[in-house]
Subunit: 382 residues, 2 copies
């Protein structure tokens, strides 16, 4: 018996679609909206736009933006207190993966109580969450469609993965216009995150035909558009294609889950507070080397999706072209940097490796990895 489950929120996609955020929030039953964002997105003017559309349909609003990249447990706790005190009844996020994951985690604490650690792992949320609408401002995290909330546990210095179907928002509003104000470095790092989602979900043990088509579409779109999007932030065709890539990669990993790269970067992110996408760039090629023997035909297909000519190559040779293609892309967008240069010290590797073994994302990695395997990959990625 091989039964798979597939979920996706309602999706509104296209330039100008932020204009539907008021009607969307009203439709899911909001009267007072808790709007989560961050200072960069506020400065770029997107929160003012969202407020305009929310107020236009008669909704009250409360803004919460006391959060950082790689959002922390205490920021969520503060947000949940704020939510309860302000009498809100729905949650809207306008921003990248950080505000979105804070919005989701606030939803958990506000309706289920306790502390975030109680919900770490898979399907540990029992009571229904407030309705949620998410409008991403980056093309990478995919959190607008996913059942994931990833929050730093500041005591343990690692990222907790909270995975539950009720974390899939009700409506995702993907407006590529919001990508215009992202700088090139953020475009590169978030694009790398989306690419890692596409690749890890395509080779995941939980992949299905329904997740495969989303993962492959993401890889193809990123191969064809990420360099352009990084080189020219005003290229709206590239931005639109990257927004679609992030969305399809998000649908893929929401249902196929991820692999060793994410299990490892969740530890690095918790320790170093670098951008998650940059950590992915350092680790992904080495995890691909490790995984290659488990599913060479899938890696060969990734090479084809990256634009490599694999017509006259054998299985392993074709599969290796996938790793070559990923390394070229990482170099071209300026992310070819080791974990050492990012500040990771050798002595942390044993602890990070042990913690990675407990991350929910490792379960679906196509090749079984021991703590020694993970340590070896960390060392290569230095």
């Amino acid at each position: 018996m091989n039964i798979s489950k597939f979920v996706a929120p309602e999706i509104i996609f296209g330039q100008g679609s932020l204009s539907q955020i008021g009607e969307s929030a009203a439709r899911i039953g909001a009267s007072k909206v808790f709007l989560v964002s961050d200072e960069d997105v506020i400065s770029a003017g997107w929160v003012d736009k969202a407020l305009h559309y929310l107020h236009a349909v008669g909704l009250e609003t409360e803004i919460y933006s006391s959060l950082t990249s790689n959002p922390k447990d205490f920021e969520v706790l503060e947000g949940a207190r704020h939510y309860v005190a302000s009498g809100c009844d729905a949650i809207v996020a306008v921003g990248g993966g950080s505000p979105t994951d804070v919005a989701k985690a606030v939803a958990i604490l506000a309706s289920n109580g306790g502390e975030l650690r109680d919900y770490e792992g898979i399907n540990r949320i029992s009571r229904p969450l407030p309705p949620m609408v998410i409008a991403p401002s980056t093309a990478g995290a995919g959190s607008e469609v996913s059942p994931f909330a990833i929050i730093v546990d500041t005591e343990r210095k690692l990222k907790m993965s909270i995975i539950s179907k009720s974390l899939v928002p009700d409506i995702a509003i993907v407006d590529p216009e919001l990508l215009r104000t992202k700088d090139a470095k953020l475009a590169a790092a978030t694009g790398m995150d989306a690419l890692t989602h596409g690749i890890e979900s395509y080779v995941s043990l939980a992949a299905t035909p329904l997740t495969d088509i989303h993962a492959c579409k993401a890889i193809q779109l990123i191969a064809a558009n990420l360099r352009r999007a990084v080189a020219d932030r005003g290229d709206m065709e590239a931005n639109t294609n990257m927004a679609m890539a992030s969305l399809t990669a998000g649908i893929a990993f929401s249902n196929a889950i991820l692999g060793a790269t994410h299990a490892m970067t969740h530890q690095v992110d918790g320790l170093l507070d670098q951008h998650h996408g940059e950590a992915n760039a350092s680790i992904l090629p080495h995890v691909m080397e490790f995984n290659l023997s488990a599913c060479p035909e899938r890696f060969k297909h990734i090479a084809w999706s990256l634009g490599k000519d694999v017509r006259n190559t054998g299985q392993e040779e074709g599969a290796r072209l996938a790793i070559e293609g990923i390394r070229e892309l990482i170099a071209d967008i300026g992310l070819a940097k080791g974990l050492g240069a990012m500040g990771l010290r050798e002595e942390f590797i044993p602890l990070l490796s042990r913690n990675a073994l407990n991350d929910a994302c490792l379960v679906t990695n196509p090749r079984n990895a021991t703590v020694d395997d993970i340590e070896a990959i960390f060392r290569k990625a230095m």
Copy 2:
């Protein structure tokens, strides 16, 4: 501003997944389930199985099966009376497109009152529907994921298209085991319906990258599995692939809508009471001929998806290979029959053509069609 919307229900897929129907109905809040099916599905034993799983989680049930292929308005009215009188609070369908569409239409009348004609067209349902779980027993209709309910108006002798987001069920349970008991003729006709969904949604004016990947996957799976599924009803690999094809085609047309073939078959179905898939087989190649000039590159890609070698062909030549491939497939599965042989008389063509012009599916056809164009296609399809 080019904004698209995408919806899909939660999907549970795989051999044996019918076992989750009780837990699924309970999860969406059911206490007494109105189970819609038909005599063939009951004889095959699937309703008894479903009842077992529903009763196992403590749910009460009421069965409704007074319906025919191409379900009729009066069957829905009777079902809605039955639903209200029996005090049910959720709807489950186990069966093909007919029981599913009756289940949806019962949901409309039971919660919104009035008569079905009041809801014909797009987004005319205002009040929420009872929660719904659908388990399809055929690989074709795609109604388990779609916002469509297609019901015969017996007075006007045509099929009404009722299209509304609230008709998307809460949960679709797609268990390929249920396909085992379908006979070869039904496998051919329903497979042809799924193929028509894939092709019409791929060339639809409302197609998006998100619908394209689903439409293409459906066409590829059908090209590779429909002949096998018709030849050997016990071939579970072919059945499973056809179940996935029907599902992805359903997701595609749910969001890209359809085209002239469906606008026309909806009229034929209402008049002749033939299987909808057979009517599609008669009309689709002629509609493809008509549409070819509007998007030859898309038709060439369909030819590739059907397994045609299009590497050294020009655009139009490649596009024509798609029509050739469809004709071959239709012949191989025994559906190459004209509308005349199905009982259509010439004198009905003007009326059917005028009615087709008002069908909601015509709006997204890639080439604008006048009543004369539709008449000409009907005559070719005789």
